[in-house]
């Protein structure tokens, strides 16, 4: 029984990772976006290291959020166009599990690279050295939340022709707790406080999202994909 329930998860995870591997260019674009926007900030704000360092954590988090938001739009789009989403909807497996596989693949191909690149951006934006480990940890947990919540929005807008902008409108308010706890983790560490409590709250958000978001996304897909 357990194996049967798992199979949908693993199959869709493997499939999406393989698809991502074959379209490596698309995978690189959120990371490139992340890097490019980060050069705008010193240009628009200030090149001074001290002032940049103050806003670095918040800016990196905002950019990571925007980069995820851009990529979440495509989570179901190509599957919807080529009909494999409908195949997924009519499989006998429980829908949330294959969806969780897809979302995990999305995180592995966007959230994880963003997390791994973030220390480089922290360096460029002169983030104080105490902030690096918290930045990595908070982004790793936080971007997973963003992928999960984003999946609900993507499922709600999958059949709309211009769903991308609407998706951002729907999902952005739901992202706010993540960014609050994410930046708090880093700024606590920079201020020399114990940064584990906000990180634990991020973990709690992630746990709740893992439990609820695939269910909501499955319900949304059943409504929207047939229209």
């Amino acid at each position: 029984m357990a194996r049967k329930m798992n199979s949908g998860f693993v199959a869709w995870l493997r499939r999406d990772l393989l698809l991502a591997y074959r379209r490596r260019g698309e995978v690189a674009s959120p990371v490139l976006f992340f890097m490019m926007v980060s050069t705008l900030i010193p240009l628009g704000l200030t090149p001074e290291a001290a002032r940049l360092g103050e806003v670095a954590a918040g800016m990196i988090w905002v950019m990571a959020l925007l980069a995820t938001l851009l990529s979440v739009d495509g989570m179901f789009a190509s599957d919807y166009q080529d009909g494999s989403l409908e195949q997924m909807l009519i499989t006998p497996q429980l829908l949330p599990l294959p969806l969780l596989g897809k979302i995990t693949a999305h995180w592995l191909t966007t959230g994880l690279p963003l997390t791994l690149v973030s220390p480089l951006l922290g360096l460029m934006m002169s983030l104080p050295s105490a902030g690096y480990l918290p930045l990595l940890c908070s982004l790793a947990l936080g971007t997973a939340c963003l992928s999960l919540v984003g999946a609900v929005g993507a499922a709600l807008t999958v059949s709309l022709r211009k769903g991308g902008l609407l998706l951002s409108l729907l999902v952005m308010p739901l992202y706010m707790p993540v960014i609050i706890f994410g930046t708090a983790t880093v700024s606590y560490a920079v201020d020399g406080l114990n940064w584990l409590p906000p990180l634990a709250l991020l973990g709690a958000l992630l746990a709740a999202s893992v439990a609820l978001c695939p269910l909501a996304a499955a319900g949304a897909l059943r409504v929207t994909a047939s229209n």
Binding site: T157, L160, L169, M172, P173, I180, A208, A220, T224, N227
Partner: protein
């Protein structure tokens, strides 16, 4: 839902409530009385609050905007839950009417949220010296406005009425789960960044003479909300059921007179 449909009498009102026609006729009978009650209570509360309640020791007369601000903020928040509950009823029992209630609740709630934010800004200028400050409650209200905007936008994005209703019901439910999380996190964020300039002058303990008119206004706003929601829903019923015979008969009867 066999346990619902095998005709147990205690559920019959629930079934009848699901019929747009029944709701339309029944609400037409309630509506004048409800409107009258809302008007009387609101007038009573406004005159009491604006003319007879004592002045605030620190803020003078400018505090009186509380009699609009607080009830609007109250209804803005409960309105989201009313919308989400209507959406949930629609998803679970597949009742057409509750989707119509949900759709009608969204713009009303959004307008009330805007009124709360606007009156807050007007009140903030003399009290805090700025129209906008990043206070926890203000920020939560702003996010609530965004949540409403999302539901409204999704509602209009779909051509199919069925898909629009179900999709926005799911979004409203997701929002409901998130509202307590958002409010808590914003509270927490605020204590982290609390700027020194803001002092909340309205103490939580109000004098009875000030509080009673506020209570009347809150009740009045609830009544007004009910009137607005029923009117909106009746419009929506006519729009969606315009091809049915009873709506046509209604229209012919109106035109014939």
């Amino acid at each position: 839902m066999t346990w619902l449909s095998n005709g147990s009498p205690s559920w019959q009102w629930f079934h009848r409530l699901g019929s747009p026609r029944w709701f339309y006729h029944r609400s037409g009978r309630w509506l004048p009385w409800l409107s009258l009650a809302a008007l009387l209570v609101l007038l009573n509360g406004l005159v009491w609050g604006l003319a007879f309640a004592p002045e605030d020791a620190k803020q003078g007369n400018s505090f009186r905007i509380i009699y609009i601000h607080v009830p609007a903020a109250f209804l803005a928040q409960s309105g989201y839950f009313i919308m989400a509950i209507a959406g949930a009823i629609g998803l679970i029992w597949k009742m057409k009417i509750s989707y119509m209630v949900m759709k009608s609740a969204a713009p009303i709630g959004a307008v009330l949220t805007f009124i709360a934010l606007f009156t807050g800004a007007v009140w903030g200028k003399p009290t805090w010296g700025a129209y906008w400050v990043w206070d926890a409650r203000i920020t939560s209200m702003l996010i609530l406005l965004f949540l409403y905007a999302g539901v409204i936008a999704l509602q209009y994005a779909y051509h199919s009425v069925d898909a629009a209703s179900k999709a926005s019901a799911i979004l409203a439910l997701v929002g409901t789960v998130n509202i307590p999380i958002i409010n808590k996190s914003v509270d927490w964020w605020y204590t982290l960044h609390q700027p020194a300039t803001i002092k909340l002058t309205s103490a939580p303990s109000m004098h009875m003479d000030m509080f009673m008119p506020l209570l009347v206004m809150i009740v009045g706003f609830y009544l007004f909300y009910a009137v607005a929601l029923i009117l909106h829903t009746r419009n929506e019923i006519l729009r969606r059921e315009r091809k049915t015979s009873w709506v046509r008969e209604l229209a012919n009867a109106k035109a014939g007179r």
